[in-house]
Amino acid sequence: MPITAIDPDNLPTQKVEEWKFTNLPRAIPANLNRDGDAGEHVIHIKRGEIRDNPVEINFKGVDNAYQVDHIIITLEEGAQATIIERHEGQGAYWKNHTTKIEIGKNAHLKHIRLQNDTHDAVNTNIVHMTIDQNATYDSFNLNMGGKLSRHEIHAEIAGKGAEASFNGANLLQGSQHGDTTIVIEHQAPNCQSNQFYRTLLDDKARGVFQGKVHVHQEAQKTDGYQLSNALLLSPDAEMDTKPELEIYADDVKCSHGATTGQLDEEPLFYLRQRGLSEAQARLLLIQAFIYEAVDKVSNESLREEILSITTTWLENALKA
């Protein structure tokens, strides 16, 4: 199935249900240079191959550029790999990416995405993946960059006994807009999917979480879990959440939840009674909120790296 990137001449409008919270046409930088070629990144892990070292792909945004990239990741039967995507850049640009992931039987993929584009950039990424029998997909998406970013995932859990985790943290400030849209198709029995997202919004930032779990009739014994928690640090921040379950099988375990709020007073007072200043107590509680998501990263050195990135972000954000 070919995946097409968003058509720059025919941008989705907010009249489209899936795009109702995210105004893409308004965010695209003017005068983009559209002459460049599309890039292609192919990662193919052969049958039974186990890659010990993470495979890294770096995407550098260039001022005024329109950058289309196609990422094609294939793990054959029994293969194992860890892939790290890093997004940075300079100036105003639009990265318009597609990602196609195929995970074969008994294969295991860990996928980390660190999106730290500039605050003038737009990053759109449409991911399509299929996960075969007894395979696992374990992902973490750290979303800190972009004037507007949209990470859209369509996952088909196609073979029985497969497991997929979509975890992430959004840290947004200024007038940033971050959209996470996940659609999971449970097509086979005895599969599991998890979504756990924590979103921190400061200033006038806006977060979007749309997560849908679609359990097909044949997908009995599905275990689906979805949770989005957002913490607003400013009265001008906004979070739009749309958690959805659509279930056609009769023997499943599915739960979903979404919260949006501010810091609780009770733990703040408890910490201050133990001598922490109000600022210290707030930092500790906000860190904890994000750390609970980062804690889902199973690779220890990556987890440490992400913790350090988020801590720096928090210390700067709370200082301002």
């Binding site: 007073e265 009770e266 733990p267 007072f269 408890y270 910490l271 201050r272 009674q273 133990r274 001598g275 922490l276 200043s277 109000e278 210290q280 500790l284 509680l285 860190q287 904890a288 909120f289 750390y291 609970e292 804690d295």
Partner: protein
């Protein structure tokens, strides 16, 4: 020495401000243990929150000083540094913050405010290990998130652990016996008794005489409707237990 004089406080509700503390006067000299007993709604817990600086309550009159320093002028963290420790009735769960990070931050914040040198990692580890051993707390508790998934007994033991580490001058124990079975109660009481010191005073807030079998008070006060209606020795607690609050409050009125 803690001196509370004619302390009044109210809380804002949907129906306007409601007076909870209607003039409490109480002195606790260094080294003494005082107990406050009273029925539900008498203002016991409010007193502990007001002393610790919880912002839901407005102090409308009176004073509270610790060694001559005005507590009511201070932020909650300044009160903690001045030596006030509140053992919470319901210790708060803090997901994502593990015990050792919490204790380190707490101890060093207090030390810094007191003008003492902050403890380095090794000194901290030693202190935590020693105090945990004294209270029979297993090391693995330090890796868990603060109070998350702790049993009632573990939560209260954790409060006593913090009390032991922060070396307060004045400890308020707010219904420390609630949610504890007899065995856990003994452990917690032993922990508190080990902290009794000629320079440290305690205010023990409780419904029941039971806790006072294990932590022997010097003075017992009975609180009803926001006022102390009677003060006496430990025998007062027994009398109260025998008669029940309603009869006792009526007699005193």
């Amino acid at each position: 020495m803690i001196k509370i004089k004619d302390l009044k406080a109210n809380v804002e509700t949907d129906d306007g401000a409601v007076d909870i503390l209607k003039g409490i006067t109480l002195d606790i000299p260094d080294g003494e243990v005082h107990a406050i007993m009273g029925p539900n709604g008498s203002g016991k817990s409010t007193l502990s929150y007001v002393l610790a600086g919880q912002e839901d309550y407005d102090v409308t009159g009176g004073s509270a000083t610790l060694d001559g320093e005005d507590l009511l002028e201070m932020s909650p963290e300044e009160r903690a540094a001045a030596g006030l420790f509140l053992a919470f009735q319901y210790p708060v769960e803090i997901p994502g913050v593990n015990m050792s990070t919490f204790l380190k931050t707490s101890i060093n914040s207090i030390r810094k405010q007191r003008g003492e040198k902050e403890l380095d990692a090794l000194g901290m580890l030693k202190l935590i290990k020693t105090k945990c051993a004294e209270l029979g707390i297993r090391d693995d508790m330090m890796k868990r998130a603060v109070n998350v998934g702790f049993s009632g007994g573990e939560k209260k033991r954790n409060e006593v652990l913090q009390m032991a580490m922060l070396e307060p001058k004045f400890c308020v124990l707010d219904e420390t016996d609630s949610g504890l079975d007899i065995d856990a109660l003994k452990v917690v009481a032993d922990g508190v008794n080990a902290l009794r010191d000629p320079k440290r005073s305690f205010l023990i807030i409780t419904h029941y005489q039971r806790l006072l079998d294990y932590i022997k008070p010097d003075v017992v006060h009975v609180l009803a409707k926001g006022r102390i209606i009677k003060t006496g020795g430990p025998e007062l607690a027994l009398e109260l237990e025998k008669k029940g609050y309603s009869e006792f409050v009526e007699e005193a009125a």
